[in-house]
Subunit: 192 residues, 2 copies
């Protein structure tokens, strides 16, 4: 009762490492149990299924990133600064979750609907975050955006593009490069 939450925490803590290494599919309940020095069936006292454990781990991980981003944004004042903070923090955070991220990617083929669901939910969050920043910029008379929704999606798509590009190890991006690109986003390439 009083220990349940604590044990749950322990489980997801250990499960996280194993999932990060082997991904969802290749991680077995037996492994997690052994690492916990418990019997496999004991895990089911705390979680209903392997899926539930994984989902919990995912959500927790997402929370950490979300908070980092939230904090980074709130520390900036200008919409430009916020957008920059968002992009940079997101990039760094994902890099830190690289193991996890690649594990997810590996099992992209088998499309577990609960993972798909998670992705969708997270995508929607990101859309909200970006569009909020953009909207604030427009409201404060700093940004001039014709189609806010389309621009939001565009930024997200581009961001995802860079993401997979970077994680594919095609090019090593520095912070300076990101700034360069943000500069294009902010001011365009046409001379004024």
């Amino acid at each position: 009762m009083i220990n349940v939450e604590k044990t749950k925490e322990e489980i997801i803590e250990i499960a996280r490492d194993i999932f990060a290494r082997f991904g969802f599919k290749k991680t077995t309940m037996e492994e997690i149990a052994k690492a916990m020095r418990k019997a496999k069936s004991s895990l089911y006292y705390y979680f209903q299924s392997k899926e539930e454990i994984f989902q919990t781990v995912l959500e927790q991980e997402a929370n950490v990133l979300r908070e980092k981003i939230e904090k980074a944004i709130s520390q900036e004042d200008t919409p430009q600064g916020k957008l920059r903070a968002y992009v940079l923090t997101r990039m760094r955070g994902l890099k830190q979750l690289a193991n996890f991220y690649s594990a997810l990617k590996d099992e992209y083929l088998e499309n577990y609907k609960f993972i798909e669901k998670f992705r969708k939910k997270y995508d929607e969050e990101e859309v909200k975050t970006i569009s909020k920043i953009l909207k604030e910029g427009v409201d404060r008379g700093i940004f001039d955006i014709k189609d806010l929704e389309m621009t939001t999606i565009a930024i997200l798509i581009a961001l995802k593009g860079f993401e997979s590009w970077v994680f594919q190890g095609n090019t090593k991006w520095t912070e300076k490069d990101i700034d360069n690109l943000l500069d294009v986003l902010f001011h365009g390439i046409v001379k004024k």
Copy 2:
């Protein structure tokens, strides 16, 4: 001798359709031969391998697209127009090659090195095309770009991002949307 080239053309013409439907792996030489009303071994009189046939088909298809793009660009005068023509023509062309494109994607898992090689070569072409347009814009005093190479790659990556987004059927993009995005690329989102 005089007919060899003609027969070769016939083969790749027929092979293209089959490859487009079933992809490289699932297409058999027997099928191609049957569609040609020839024996399988006859194909080897014209091509050294299945790979060579596929490669030829690929290259031909790329040539068609390349010419379309080249023509579209040359008909425009301003760098903005050229870039717009490039993006639009490329998008349309790839949409037309959708079957082919998805066949390629399906076999992305098995990574045939000759396909990888082709992709790389084509990527380099695209980089050249884009950077040429950008450079012209800069030289004519129309564009103002800090890091030309990085901007080129950025545009290409973003383009690829949209590509897979569109082909995944996530959103239906109109020409107007593209124009909207190009507008962001040209003028940025910061109010002037």
